[in-house]
Symmetry: C2
Subunit: 115 residues, 2 copies
DNA sequence: TTGACGTATTCCGTTATGGGTATACGATTC
DNA sequence: GAATCGTATACCCATAACGGAATACGTCAA
């Protein structure tokens, strides 16, 4: 088995910096492909390919406007990522550096208080 | 060029479900490899390999304890992901479904009000 | 219709993943 | 020193990513 497809989920789709950049751009509003091409400094086919991936995980939606295709953001698939990260928030918000791990360990299990 | 290495950053490292699972387990406290092996139902070498990736992006730290290696979580590299997601939070927290895109578009640019 | 534009798709090559299996290494015990 | 445990590494395979280049659409203009 190889690495999971980029179109498997938002986690994989968003691992690619360019794709994140595209989302960042689309966060400002709907854009035709060529706008993105210009802004990203990438070749048009690559942009279309990245958009395809984003489309397949439903991170972007398209709307046909004449000969242009206007892409817009749909952030909802990012939610699971955010939700998953949520439980780790405290780890960097506090000075838990190693203390929190120790504490968590103590109250979770390791019932053998064998130091 | 191929896909960015899994060890490039937390984004890539965490795109793999198994690796997320490992972090989830380590969130509960330090664990030796074999514990993870048992909990994950994976072969030991695969677990070691995943741990290596996590180690390379500093998502886990190791501590030698006799013949065991105790791994523990270091969540900080997750922070950039969280930070990046932050700007999209409102997109799914409200009913901005397509309204927000339109609004953003209006106030950002597209100075030609040609509709 | 022909042509230009905007975008998507196909084909290529390089790279590395992730699982499987075997094995190497260090530490401990006998 | 030998056997054993706990873990890491090496090797193999199948898969697919990403960029580049060429090209195939569909739409609009002359």
């Amino acid at each position: 088995m190889a690495r999971a497809a980029t179109t498997t989920d938002a986690f994989n789709a968003v691992a690619e910096p360019r794709r994140r950049q595209i989302l960042d751009l689309l966060a400002q509003g709907e854009r035709p492909v060529n706008d993105l091409v210009a802004m990203l400094g990438l070749a048009q086919p690559q942009v279309s390919k990245h958009l395809r991936v984003l489309r397949e995980v439903d991170l972007v939606r398209v709307r046909d406007e004449g000969r242009q295709r206007l892409y817009r953001l749909n952030a909802e698939p990012l939610r699971p990522i955010h939700d998953w990260l949520r439980k780790y928030e405290q780890s960097w918000n506090a000075r838990f550096d190693l203390l929190d791990t120790v504490l968590a360990e103590l109250k979770e299990e390791e019932p053998d208080g064998t130091d």
